[in-house]
Structures are given as structure tokens and as C-alpha cells.
Symmetry: C2
Subunit: 358 residues, 2 copies
């Protein structure tokens, strides 16, 4: 792919539309085969074009992380949105949520009785359904699964529709962590669902899923999965083994600007790739065409890449393809994505929900 | 400061204009007292309003990291810009650099003979001056100081004006690393300057400086310093000891959305704060009003904060002030900054050069 000819100045993000489409189709098929609803997390791509393709392939709505993201996708005509987050409903968010609920079928997360009360007092009768978040081992937000019924009962008493339970098994982002995380997810959703049943709430939706655990999602326990990264994949996923390098659909085109010994510096740094670097990764991302190279450091505008002794280095001025560690962060730094198909640039997609964090 | 009343929905970035102004004045005074030119790095704030204040306080021009940042500040009327980066001049960047050089007094970095040749062949006669980047120990870009003359001689032969040498002592971002980094910086600039003199180039400019080393900058070796972060400061600087917590001028206003035991989750995560987390930091940022709390994890929209046993936690729905680890990353994620003075919201500043990475 002659990246040099695409856009005038590096660094920029490039989507391989062919790989993307294969990724979208594979997940759609997996979900359909297992009888699971696929509700892709749109925080990864933030692009209307990709969300439309996901829906066309059978997705049962979109997942988003914030009210702001929901507003972007609602304005573009997406009609079924789940804000998978314990939204604190107060201040200006009240009117925004009520306006959203008039436009679309809206569900949001709750993980406390206080959160339920804030929502109920602000948006009672607005038609916002809730799912109770349970902690499946990531220990971030979410109640303990056996306490889900307490939150659900408060919601029911307050007149809110409770659809079920959801969780994010984020502890699957560890080497060899995927299997245990998928098992924990199933258990947490089972326990959470039973906890809802004990307070006479039917857990119609049992929503889980993350890209590392999606292939292992247990259809006996889940009704829905919400992977996001699978659309593009990234260096984390490849290093975790949840995708291959040929499944990576997004890279940063970066120019080699400096060279010394076995080291080069490229012009994609943390302001293009994001600074995500879990301790188990091999570095600050990877070079797609140089599997033995390692990104040993990222500054804002410098990616420092070390090559093994004896291996050939890219030349000064050469454009290389850098795979971000965490594609959600990289996309959120860009205003647009350059789209290629069969090696040719075909269009640009706006990152429509970039920075929609509120 | 009643943050709740400022903007409708968290998370958002808040600048305390009084602290900012004190930081800007202090650095201006330090530079003037020592006879150093202060050329602040605008990549930190990316705001026209702050750059204007820096110039009004005596800054001798601005530093930027990219051609794109230079374009934003040139369009706003700033007339003296240094792109402190080994810019690779090819493709669309040629016309952009030539256009810039017609508007402003422009200097850029070079760190290779090849880079000099690319610049000379593309923009000869455009009036772009160069400084040779030398490596003072950060081992990123920059030639070894004793080799600076080779690059300078190539530039002179190609008809480019060579103004001197510059370095970034980034290895000062380590506990107890500031003193050694400042000493290394002085040595590297001395050696680099002598290397230029040996090829009959006068090293008029010897430019160094970073926020951690600025207070130790050696006026016998430097003529100019380029700190950026000092305008706002951040958790890294405070934990390194290069500022106090009362010198932190920028925080993220974030709402507590989840609580469990001694842990809360706030709605500012890595998409607001940036994911920068050097191993020597205590976490993913700090809470300004809760010095004993630690941000143990950052997801995209979750900051997980642990409080010591027995200490009081903020309530669900409470707004707290989060200090990013690396303020440059946080600012680059935001479209605007909320500005407060004496505890009252006074205006918004656009992050004019947000995402100007090319």
C-alpha cells in the first residue's frame, strides 16, 4: 500500500476497509450463530459509517459510553442506544437525557440506589430503561452480583423499567486472562440475574462481552455482547492473542524522522497513538511490517523504535504503519480517518463522536 | 470553588487563571533575571490567549512541535516560531513550510545530513533557519553533541542559515533526575556549540530547557529555554518536585459516579486525562483536594480512586478536581478550557491547536 501517496503529511490514521469489513462480518456471524444480540460499542470507532455497517449486518443497537456519544449517534438516526455506564443524572445532563429519550429507545446503566434515585427524580416518566451493572472481577464500577436485586428493586419502586444486568470483564485484558474473565462474566451475570428474580424483576437482558472475551462468551449466561475494539483490533488484542496481526484494520501512517544505530524515531507519538501501555505489552504499540521492532518509548510526537541487531531499518523519510496499543484512544485523538480499500484511498470518515466525553 | 455551577456536565478541564498567571510571571522573571530568552513551548496549552500572555510578559517567540501547530499560531499573528523537531520535509509539508516562512520568522530542527538535504532541496531560499538537535541523554532524536558540526556544515553548504544547537533533557523526568539532566543539558549544548565552531558556524542560539530542569538551567551554557508544562503544571511535575500542588493551574472537573468500600470511580478517564503513567508516578493522576487518594486505574471513562482506610470519601454525585499526570495530553483531548478567576467562571478558551499533529 503506497501510503506516501495518500495524504500530504504524516501522521494520520488509516483504516483498511477490507479488514474492517471482515472483522465486522465475523463478529456478526458469531453472534448470530450463538443466538446472542451483538450491540457493538461505538466508543471505539465513533464513526457513523461504521455504525451503519454494524447495524446493516444485524447489530441489535449500539452501545456508547457517554450521553455525548449517544447524542451524536441519535442525531444521525440510530434509534436504539445503551449508555453502558453508571450515568450520574444531575445538572445539565437531566435535560439532555430527557431529550435523548424522546428521540430514541434509550437504556442506561445504574450501580447504586443513589444513582437510581437521582435518575428517577430527574427523569421519571421519560421512558429511560435501566440495566444494573455488576462487577465480574474488574473491580471498577458495578455492584457485587448478589446485590443487583437491591438496585433493581429501588429502580422498580421508583417506576423505572429494569431490563436486566450488564458487566464488563475488563480483567480479561491480561495475558492468559481471557478464559477466566469469560467464566467470571458468565457467573456474575447468572448471579446478578437470579438476584433480580428474587425481587421479581425479569432479567431479560444479560449483557456482557469485551473483545478479548467475545470469542468465549457463554450463550447460556449472556443474551447480548458489547465488544468494541473488534472492528479495528490493535496491538493489545494481537499481543493478548484475541486477534491476529492480519486482523488489524487501523494503523497510523508515520514518517521516520531520525535514525541512530538500531533505533529510529517516527513522527507518531502519544498524541496520535495514545499513551496506553499496560505493563504486559511489549511497548508503546507495534510496527505492522516490522514484527521484531519494539516501540520502547512514546513522547507526544516521537515514537522511539528499536530494531534487533543486524536487521534492516526503514530509511529516513520512509512511511511505516504503526499499530496503536489501544485503538479507542488513537481514534479519539483524530478528527478523521483515511479509508483505503484494495490498497487505494477511497474516502475519509469523520470521527463524529471525537471528544464526546460528557 | 463551586465547580458544580460552572458547566452543565462533567468531565471538563478548568484553568485557574490566577495560578496560571503566577506561573507565567515566575518563569518570565526567572528567564529575565538570568539573561535567558524564554521561548515557551505552546504544545502544552495550544491556546492563543495563553501564548499572547507569554509574549506580553517578554517571551522571545514561541516553540511548537509540528508544522500544524506553527500554522495555527502563525495564522493568529505570532511572528517568531521554532518547530523544535527534526521535521522531515517532503510531500505536502514542502508547500506548507514555504507558506509559513513567508508569514513568520521560522526556525526548525534538524538532526541528520539527510534531513538537511531534504529541507534544502525542498525549501532552499525560503528563509527557514535551522538549529541542530543534540542528544543530551534522553536518547530520542538528536545527534551526539560532538557530531553537531557535521550536520551544521551540511546545512551551511546547502545555503541554510544555522542558528545554533538545541536539546531536550527529557531524562529529567525521573525522581532525582533533574539535577543530572540539567548538567547533561549544559554539557551537550557546550559540546555541540564547540562542534559548530569547528566548522565555522557561530552557535548564537543554545536552546534547552524543560519544566523539570528550567529552575536549574545554566545560563553559562544556554541562551534560551523552552519549558511548556510550567504554565499549568501537572501531577508529574508535582511528584517530581519541580512545582508545588498550589502551582497546578489545570484540573479536570469530574463527578463521582460509583462507590464501593474505600474506592470511588470518577467520570474522568484516559479520554480526558490522557493515559500517561510513568512507572515512578503514584498512579494515573491525583485528586487536588484529596492528597492521600490514589488513582489506581484509568479506563477511557473511569478513574478508579482508592482512599486510605478510615478517610472520608467524596459522595456520589460530588464533583472533584483531578490533576492529570501529563497536562499536554489532557489539553490535547479537549476542545475548550473553562477559565476561572477568584473562583468564578470568567470565559472559555478554545484549544486552538488541538490535534494539530502533522
Amino acid at each position: 500500500m503506497p501510503l506516501e501517496s495518500l495524504d500530504p503529511s504524516t501522521p494520520y490514521l488509516v483504516v483498511d476497509a477490507d479488514v474492517l469489513d471482515r472483522n465486522l462480518r465475523r463478529a456478526a456471524t458469531t453472534a448470530r450463530t450463538r443466538g446472542l444480540v451483538l450491540r457493538p460499542h461505538a466508543k471505539t470507532h465513533k464513526c457513523l459509517e461504521i455504525a451503519r455497517r454494524q447495524i446493516a449486518l444485524g447489530a441489535g443497537g449500539l452501545t456508547v459510553a457517554t450521553v455525548g456519544e449517544a447524542e451524536v449517534f441519535a442525531a444521525a438516526g440510530f434509534g436504539d442506544l445503551f449508555i453502558a455506564y453508571p450515568v450520574w443524572v444531575s445538572g445539565g445532563r437531566v435535560a439532555r437525557l430527557r431529550a435523548l429519550a424522546e428521540q430514541v429507545s434509550l437504556r442506561i446503566g445504574v450501580d447504586s440506589v443513589e444513582g437510581v434515585q437521582a435518575l428517577a427524580s430527574a427523569a421519571s416518566g421519560a421512558g429511560i430503561a435501566v440495566l444494573v451493572e455488576v462487577d465480574s472481577g474488574h473491580h471498577r464500577s458495578g455492584v457485587q452480583p448478589e446485590a443487583a436485586g437491591e438496585v433493581a428493586a429501588a429502580a422498580s419502586r421508583a417506576g423505572l423499567e429494569v431490563l436486566g444486568v450488564f458487566t464488563f470483564p475488563g480483567h480479561g485484558y491480561q495475558p492468559d486472562g481471557r478464559g477466566q474473565a469469560a467464566a467470571d462474566e458468565a457467573t456474575a451475570l447468572d448471579v446478578g440475574a437470579r438476584s433480580l428474580q428474587r425481587v421479581s424483576v425479569d432479567p431479560v437482558v444479560r449483557s456482557g462481552g469485551s473483545t478479548p472475551t467475545a470469542a468465549l462468551a457463554d450463550a447460556a449466561s449472556l443474551t447480548e455482547m458489547r465488544p468494541g475494539v473488534y472492528a479495528f483490533n490493535d496491538a493489545q488484542q494481537a499481543e493478548l492473542g484475541s486477534c491476529g496481526w492480519s486482523d488489524v484494520a487501523l494503523t497510523a501512517a508515520a514518517t521516520v524522522v531520525s535514525r541512530s544505530g538500531q533505533q529510529v524515531v517516527v513522527d507518531a507519538g502519544s498524541k496520535v497513538l495514545g499513551a496506553d501501555r499496560p505493563t504486559w505489552t511489549t511497548g508503546g504499540g507495534r510496527l505492522l511490517d516490522h514484527p521484531d521492532a519494539r516501540i520502547v518509548a512514546l513522547s507526544e510526537h516521537h515514537g522511539t523504535v528499536v530494531f534487533p541487531e543486524g536487521s534492516a531499518l526503514p530509511a529516513l523519510g520512509e512511511v511505516v504503519r504503526v499499530v496503536p496499543n489501544h485503538v479507542c484512544s488513537a481514534v479519539n485523538l483524530a478528527d478523521q480517518l483515511v479509508v483505503v480499500s484494495a490498497g487505494r484511498q477511497v474516502e475519509h470518515w469523520a470521527v463524529a463522536a471525537r471528544g464526546a466525553n460528557t
